[in-house]
């Protein structure tokens, strides 16, 4: 075929991706909302590049699960030095790829409440999954998962296969309902508006008035207060407890610049980065002593329930199959 046709096209566009010369490039796979113009990515990049004499480059995929999938396909051919955005639910599956190197960071900097001891994956923020509602429309929010399922409130949530909040809801359902989860999913399906691929699609549809409750994080109201100056969005506290999500970063064994990669990890849990993340990625910091805007102290502080990463790794595929069969009915 006439490959000569493609050449001018390539040249036209490769102008746009020409690299800055000489500096080492540190490549990070992450999810798309992290690198959006209002996300943490650009600010962390600017801060880190001031000290590292390198070019920090994010490659964004749709969400956390996709990062893992891409890693599995690429194997040791991955272009990235680091991954950022896997969560504790996916941790063991990521480790099983044998592509992850040790992070080499001292863990005593982290908040003791996290009780983090893993040598491969380093937490950079955490939060609790929660359903968000508009308190100007709903005056009596549901107070438990059970109440939500039994109501006829319109709900939007994310696909457990692609999205970490979706997976979080799956763990939540299993933690609360155990063997009865299938019928609980069916109950939820009756008043589900749609199941989206990623968090952002679901959340924007909710903001447009598409549902009464949307699955998100207990920290989401902070975003509305600080960025939007809107106070009506609240997280519903559930009496059964909430599942937490710890977001993780890790260095790949195949990285050509392991030292630089570790330097980035160390930066990630520095007070500088930890003050940027809560107000851009809207999650809680993993080190103590970060001064946060007052709204953060008004967020719901749920009791944590759930499973260990090893339990999740063992059961995830089975639970996903249970969900898709139940929700398809």
């Amino acid at each position: 075929m006439k490959t000569s046709y493609f050449l001018p096209l390539f040249m036209l566009f490769s102008l746009g991706i020409a690299q800055a010369a000489d500096k080492p490039i540190l490549t990070v796979y992450t999810y798309d909302s992290f690198v959006s113009e209002w996300g943490s990515g650009p600010k962390l990049e600017a801060a880190f590049e001031q000290t590292c004499h390198c070019d920090l480059k994010f490659i964004a995929v749709e969400d956390g699960v996709s990062i893992l999938n891409r890693l599995k396909i690429e194997g040791d051919q991955a272009k990235a030095d680091l991954i950022l955005g896997i969560d504790d639910g996916l941790m063991e599956e990521a480790r099983a790829t044998q592509l992850i190197a040790e992070h080499g960071q001292a863990l005593d900097k982290l908040s003791t409440s996290l009780k983090w001891v893993d040598k491969d994956f380093l937490p950079y923020d955490y939060g609790y999954f929660a359903f968000i509602y508009d308190s100007s429309k709903i005056t009596k929010p549901v107070s438990s998962l059970k109440e939500l399922l039994e109501s006829d409130a319109k709900v939007i949530y994310q696909d457990p296969r692609t999205s970490t909040p979706g997976q979080g809801l799956m763990l939540w359902m299993k933690a609360v309902y155990g063997d009865q989860a299938a019928s609980a999913w069916q109950q939820l399906a009756k008043h589900t508006v749609t199941v989206t691929k990623g968090w952002w699609e679901a959340y924007s549809m909710f903001l447009e008035g598409g549902a009464d409750y949307v699955l998100s994080y207990n920290t989401s109201p902070a975003y509305h207060v600080l960025s939007d100056k809107k106070e009506q969005y609240k997280a519903a506290a559930f009496s059964e407890g909430h599942v937490a999500q710890v977001e993780l970063a890790a260095v790949l064994k195949s990285s050509q610049q392991p030292e630089l990669a570790k330097q980035f990890l160390s930066f990630l849990i520095s007070p500088e980065a930890q003050s940027i993340i809560p107000v851009t990625n809207w999650m809680l910091p993993v080190i103590d002593g970060i001064e946060l805007p007052p709204i953060f102290s008004q967020l719901i502080q749920p009791q944590r329930i759930g499973f260990t990463p090893a339990e999740v790794a063992e059961k995830r595929a089975e639970w996903v199959r249970e969900w898709r069969s139940a929700a398809a009915k």
Binding site: M1, F13, L68, V193, W200, R321
Partner: protein, 519 residues
Amino acid sequence: MAQRSSQISGYLALVALVSVTAWAFYGLSSLAEGRLAGSVFTDPYIHRILGFSLKQAALSASAAVLLAVPVARALYYLPNLLGKRAFLALCLLCFVLPTLILITGLVALLGSAGSLSPYLGKSWNLYGLQGILLAHLFLNLPFAIRSFYLQLQALPASSWILARQLKLSSWQQWAVLEWPQLRARLLTVWVFIFVLCFNSFAVVLSLGGGPQSTTLEVAIYQALKYDFNIPEALSLAWLQLLITGSFYLAMTRFGSSAWLSADTARPEFLPRLRSWQMLYQQLIYYLTWTFFLLPLLALIPSWWQINFEGLTKINLIKPLITTLSLGLIAASLAVLIAVLVLSPIRWARRQQQQQKQWLLEGLANHSLVLPAMVLSVGLYVWSLRHLDLEVWGIFFVILVNTLILVPFAVQQLKPRLFQFDDQYQYLAQQLKLNAWAYWQVVLPWLQRDLQAAFVLCLLLAMGDVAVFSIFATDTWISLPWLIYSYAGSYRIAEASVLACLFLLICAALVVWLEKIKNK
């Protein structure tokens, strides 16, 4: 000589087509080590998906066929309808409309914050079967209308004169004249729409709303992109191939369906209608206009809501150039390849080797039954390990789109080239034209059809989402993909503006296509 060289290049083109497919399947099998997930065939979830795929396709096809008949009759009976030419052009536009324009329009009209939604009651939800059916109806009803209308126009005036002399009632006219004329076409059109809807991707992905309305095509995408379950994807792909393949075989047996032909001169004799019948048919006609226009017009009001400051941030030029270049290259390649592969097919036909002709046509058209998803994913999986997709991704988008378009181009060019063979091939042989001189005769003869095939392929390639969704990276963004990402994050105003722009480009191409056809 001319014969030899064009035959050889034809076979080479066929080999190239088939090897791309083989390459894709190699990519898939190498990761799965050829394993198939046998569990797929016993998994109740897959049964349900299969059931839903068949159900939505059957419902969409039936609705389109049933509703098209009265509209086609109205067009036929009332030759002086206001804006009839525009209506037929609109039908063409709707059929080739990039699905994302329609989806954006439907969401703006009937989504949770849509302009019509408040009148539909609290329980209305666009997402699910109802949304899928609406979108499929919008995309396929126009095709059925045009197809049936052309069929009715073929009714000879003498039949109508006879009918009047026999004083047939309008019911008898339908039973004796119109129904037999439409009957065969009805089935072909139904099967064609069924296959299109069975393979539907973007509509189901955007409007499906979760696992309860997933089709096989979307399930393949999900198995690959969500679960990373290659054996399951491979098994689903074979299943999809089996089903669309058998429907395709059924369709080729029933013959093809003309629908792009020009609106030929008006029939010289038509039965007279009673005034209530005229009124009723006008009503149908204007209702159909409304149905086709509403989702497109719904794109406009968002213009006022738009934040123009935000709009200037959208980098429009690059996606626009990407989409146009992608379309132009894929369409040119597809038309070129179609001309080439038709050489051996024509040769076989001239030699009256029917089985060989049938086999070669099958090979040229094989991508019609292949899920675009399977091709793309196979190549994707292969290239992730061997190439930098940020650079090469777009090459594969073009490659797969070309492969998918070849059957459409072949369909467009085949009748005209067969006609050439019947009329001039013998002469061309006697004159012992060399390859250069031979094509200098053939190409001008083909010019109109080449143009039409090119514009059709261009429209289809520009609207592609399925292939692009697999290879999309930050480096390359096409216009439909940009619309998808805006619509996906519910920024309907931005999505609408882009969709409007895209719509204008497509409308201009359709007007051009109509011009070519009516020349």
